[in-house]
């Protein structure tokens, strides 16, 4: 007997499984999966999600909540109008930290004019030596100040992970209330989940040595959000 049959066999015996209750159980499972019931969701000043009204770009309550929670998670936040203004905002941020104007960027962001802002960019997955990684986001979650990134050929996961500084461009129209709305958006736009869905809330941290919080355990030391309020 395989271990699979052995383990499942013992679970079935303990649950008094028989053909009738198995059929009922399977029907219950399909019903649960079809219903996708939500648990209690805490009120966020506004529950207007990107799904509910995409045209209401950057509904102020969601945007403000995202900013407030991002700051609480040790991220920094800047606001500009459109994608076209993002490269200059990145250059300003890097110059302010005395970092070189060089970065690895998502292929999805290659269309922006980085050179005009004085930035040298590599369009690929990140490598160990990259100091700055620039990503977009699939959406952002106001409730907890969280970026939701999905992996793909144009959105490699390593860009938000290996460099010491991670900069994320966040269109206001993509700010949703909670994780539930983020998943709903993923189902609606992507069909099945991509390989990696990463929820990122601020820089990497550890508190393992004497419960002292230190930023930059393995991932970025800094996470900087550039909100695109007109996008």
């Amino acid at each position: 007997m395989t271990s699979r049959d052995d383990i499942l066999g013992r679970v079935r015996a303990r649950l008094n499984r028989n053909p009738e209750n198995a059929a009922a159980g399977r029907a219950a499972i399909e019903a649960t999966l079809a219903m996708r019931a939500q648990g209690p969701c805490p009120a966020i000043d506004s529950q207007k999600s990107a799904l509910a009204g995409r045209q209401q770009a950057g509904t102020p309550p969601l945007l403000e909540r995202l900013v407030e929670k991002s700051l609480a998670y040790s991220s920094t936040v800047d606001r500009v109008g459109t994608y076209a203004e993002a490269p200059a905002a990145v250059a300003r941020y890097l110059a302010g930290l005395n970092l070189p104007l060089q970065a690895v960027i998502w292929p999805a962001l290659a269309r922006l004019d980085w050179a005009a802002a004085g930035l040298t960019v590599d369009t690929r997955g990140a490598e160990d030596h990259d100091l700055v990684g620039i990503s977009g986001c699939f959406c952002a979650i106001a409730e907890t100040g969280t970026l939701m990134l999905v992996s793909g050929p144009d959105t490699p996961a390593s860009v938000s992970l290996l460099p010491e500084t991670h900069i994320a461009l966040v269109p206001a129209s993509r700010i949703v209330a909670g994780m539930e709305e983020g998943f709903a958006l993923a189902r609606a736009e992507l069909g099945q989940l991509p390989r990696a869905v990463n929820f990122i809330s601020g820089p990497s941290r550890t508190g393992d040595i004497e419960q002292t919080i230190v930023l930059g355990a393995h991932g970025p030391y800094r996470v900087h959000l550039i909100l695109l309020v007109q996008e």
Partner: protein, 468 residues
């Protein structure tokens, strides 16, 4: 991992006599408790959320066989391989086999309590594969000769900064430093090299999502992301009870897990990983394996201890336990400490091998009150105590004492006489001081406190007087 739970009393005594451990535990005490108390206030209806989480976990456990089949189906459809392990030895065999199949020389590990259950690091080393723990706390333990963890989410809570400083200087051959950010940076640099060169990543799994065939991983350091992004092979090791139905359920549970664990609204990184990388994707593993582990869990299904399978491993019960706060986690002798460990260790390793653990709690129910999935931990501890008595596992003198007690207590005349005698004797012993500093028959009891003296007459005597 071989259980040392049968030596709980000795281990606890040693922990109490260890000044470094005592200082570390005092320093940590209350930190997680306070942070949790603040964080749960962000949830409008925390109790309703707890109830919803309980229902989610029960829904799966009540049809666990079918949910496991569902998960296997969805995970396999996305290109993952699902393996099953009855015990720790089989976990080790699977991981070594997978490593050999893909020519793995080095495996980086994100936290996995199952791999502690299995003693996986020793098995990998024996097979010529280098295991590297990458959670900072777990790494510190590994370089200290594979010391066991003392907390499921803060594994080195018992260790002082000085001990870590010595360990790093010795292991890394670097000048000794006591600056915590500098020590963290040093570990980052050492471990980054391992992330980049390992061929295999091993992780636990906080949840398995049946709807999508995914594993959800929760970390603050980002090591969970590293081990699942860089190596070409990813092996997930989880218990069979970790399945949840949908992504919506994950959202609900994520409102509870970080708040209950560290008092955060959310952990810095939550990853939902599904299947293998696409050919045109620059990063991610090419091979994904799930090892679904029984190791005692199947026997708990349908039993009077089934509630325990809801556990989401947040550690809130131990953070709030007065016994844990005093002796730390290693005294419990196996992988899981605190109240949840005092239930799990006897269930998974045998009641007779952990005879003291069901008694290693005061039944004050702090653990039950804070548990995010409403596990009635004191009730389960009490049931384990009952089982011990039923199976005659308690020591002979305890059994004799209770039989004597029962014999006397079922004879009212004799009982009254005995109580009168005891009350008079104890009053005489107290000698007018109101308390007794040392009891000859119960020296352990009076070691840490005085025994209050009775005030002359028994309840039955007083009652009889009042009635007249």
């Amino acid at each position: 991992m071989k259980s040392r739970a049968h030596r709980f009393k000795e281990n606890a005594a040693a922990a109490l006599a260890n000044p470094v451990l005592q200082a570390s535990m005092r320093k940590a005490k209350g930190k997680f408790v306070d942070k949790r108390a603040i964080a749960i206030r962000e949830i409008d209806d925390f109790e309703a959320t707890r109830e919803a989480a309980k229902q989610i976990r029960n829904r799966v456990i009540e049809n666990l066989d079918l949910w496991l089949e569902k998960f296997e189906e969805t995970a396999t459809a996305r290109g993952a391989t699902v393996l099953w392990a009855k015990d720790g030895a089989e976990i080790c065999r699977h991981v070594v086999d997978v490593a050999k199949r893909h020519g793995v020389k080095k495996a980086v590990k994100s936290k996995s309590m199952l791999s502690e259950e299995a003693g996986l690091n020793l098995a990998l080393t024996a097979a010529g594969i280098q295991p590297v723990e990458t959670d900072l706390g777990e790494y510190i333990l590994q370089i200290n000769d594979n010391e066991p963890p003392s907390h499921i989410i803060a594994p080195v809570v018992h260790k002082s900064l000085d001990e870590v400083a010595d360990l790093f200087a010795k292991t890394h051959h670097t000048p000794r430093k006591t600056d915590i950010p500098a020590l963290t940076r040093e570990a980052r640099e050492v471990l980054r090299e391992h992330f980049l060169t390992a061929e295999m990543g091993i992780s636990g799994g906080n949840f398995l999502i049946a709807e999508t065939g995914s594993v959800a991983l929760v970390t603050n350091e980002g090591n969970g992301r590293m081990v699942t992004t860089l190596p070409k092979v990813h092996v997930v090791i989880t218990g069979i009870e970790k399945v949840i139905p949908t992504l919506e359920d994950l959202a609900t549970l994520m409102r509870l897990l970080p708040r209950s664990a560290t008092g955060q609204s959310i952990s810095n990184y939550v990853s939902v990983l599904t299947g293998v990388k696409r050919p045109d994707e620059p990063d991610g593993p090419e091979h994904l394996y799930f090892i679904l582990v029984d190791n005692g869990r199947a026997e708990v299904v349908g039993s009077e201890f089934q509630d325990m399978l809801r556990c989401i491993r947040c550690g809130a019960c131990m953070n709030h336990c007065p016994v844990y706060q005093t002796i730390g986690g290693q005294a419990y002798g196996w992988v899981y400490p605190g109240p949840m460990g005092s239930v799990l260790t006897p269930l998974y390793t045998g009641l007779e091998n952990a005879i003291d653990l069901p008694h290693a709690g005061t039944l004050c129910n702090q653990c039950g009150v804070v548990c995010p999935v409403k596990i009635p931990l004191p009730e389960l501890l009490r049931k384990l105590r009952e089982k011990q008595v039923e199976r005659h596992l308690r020591p002979w003198f305890e059994r004799l004492a209770f039989r004597l007690w029962a014999w006397v207590a079922s004879r009212p005349g004799l009982y009254g006489l005995g109580a009168r005698f005891a009350a008079r004797y104890l009053t005489w012993l107290a000698d007018g001081k109101g308390s007794i500093p040392a009891l000859g028959l119960a020296p352990e009891w009076t070691k840490g406190r005085d025994f209050p003296a009775p005030e002359g007459k028994t309840f039955r005597e007083l009652y009889a007087e009042k009635k007249q």
